[in-house]
């Protein structure tokens, strides 16, 4: 058992509301700025890091580095006004990694 904080990274319109609830909120004007914060985010202080879709897109390669570690868990959340579907895509990539194809699961669901 270990206590940790939760970080939320994204544009201020989307994520500002998390601050009063006790989340550690990192606001970025441009998604690329989040890359500079990544060192702090992945150091272990934060157990879960929520990133909005544009931020995830901007630092996908950095996030891939912690994919095999239990902590931090990086999870994509929709940003205000983003297209959506990025979180789905992240899971689809995991499926592809495991099975070599993502066809199998899709067929099963239908």
């Amino acid at each position: 058992m270990r206590v940790a904080k939760i970080a939320v990274v994204g544009d201020s319109t989307s994520v500002a509301g998390f601050r009063p609830l006790g989340f550690a909120v990192f606001t970025v004007e441009h998604a690329e700025e989040a890359r500079e914060m990544w060192g702090r985010l992945s150091a272990g202080e934060y157990g879960v890091v929520f990133v909005t879709e544009p931020v995830y897109e901007a630092m996908e390669d950095l996030i891939a580095e912690v994919l095999d570690r239990p902590v931090p868990a990086v999870t994509v959340i929709p940003g205000a006004g983003s297209a959506g579907g990025m979180g789905e895509a992240k899971i689809r990539r995991a499926i592809e990694r495991a099975l070599g194809t993502s066809m199998l699961i899709r067929e099963e669901e239908e």
Binding site: M1, R2, V3, A4, K5, I6, A7, S12, T13, S14, A16, G17, F18, R19, P20, L21, G22, F23, A24, V25, G47, V48, F50, L67, D68, P70, V71, A73, T75, I77, P78, A80, G84, G87, E88, K90, I91, A94, I95, R97, A98, L99, G100, I105, E108, E109
Partner: protein, 213 residues
């Protein structure tokens, strides 16, 4: 398939046969592990899809409420109101082993009580928006936990798949091939030996016959 570079003698043959048995047993075990991991993985995937859709919908609804609040009170006022609050420890993390994959478990501690802004100047919809976010927070954590587990399982499945394939298509065939090769060489040596003995016997018999004469 590549043959191994070993001396063709009985010692090596025995050793290789034993290695082949171990490899086969290992292959079976790994294959079982792979199947079980896959079962676990697929079950998690379909459950996760639903949860994600729900969380995304709820978050978007909360964003909508914030947008309404901003429209009512002005962007600056809302931004200022939301500046209050320091990050606190919200999470209790522990680990669980699923098929020897260590997946994290997140337990949510109590959220901070939003406040520090004026109730008289700010619209009530802001409180609603914050309540909405607070309500979706536990499900967001659940989503984070599950998605992390899926990713970790995917990594383990990939590793296991490679091991199974390496055993099945590389190691085991190459051991088979080498065992067969050694056996053939030993048989050949045996035949060679036999012929030589017969030949020697013939020569000796011929010499004895010559001596008697």
């Amino acid at each position: 398939m590549a043959k191994m570079c070993v001396n063709p003698n009985r010692m090596e043959l025995l050793k290789l046969k034993r290695r082949g048995d171990v490899a086969k047993r290992g292959h079976k075990l790994l294959k079982d592990k792979f199947d079980e991991l896959l079962k676990e993985f697929i079950a998690r995937i379909s459950a996760n899809r639903k949860l994600r859709a729900e969380v995304e919908a709820e978050l978007k609804a909360a964003y909508g409420l914030f947008a309404v609040a901003r429209a009512e009170a002005g962007r600056a006022a809302i931004t200022q109101a939301l500046l209050a609050g320091a990050p606190i420890e919200l999470l209790d993390t522990s680990e669980k082993s699923v098929m020897s994959v260590h997946v994290p478990i997140f337990e949510q501690l109590e959220l901070a009580e939003p406040g520090g802004y004026s109730f008289s100047t700010l619209p009530v919809v802001l409180d609603e928006a914050l309540a909405r976010l607070a309500a979706v927070a536990p499900r967001m954590l659940e989503l984070a936990e599950r998605e992390k587990a899926i990713e970790l399982l995917a990594a383990e499945i990939e590793r296991t798949r490679r091991r199974v394939n390496a055993l099945e298509y590389v190691l085991i065939p190459s051991i088979h091939e080498t065992v067969k090769d050694i056996q053939m060489k030993l048989d050949e040596a045996e035949r060679g030996n036999l012929t030589r003995l017969m030949k020697v016997k013939d020569i000796i018999a011929a010499q004895e016959a010559a001596g008697e004469r």
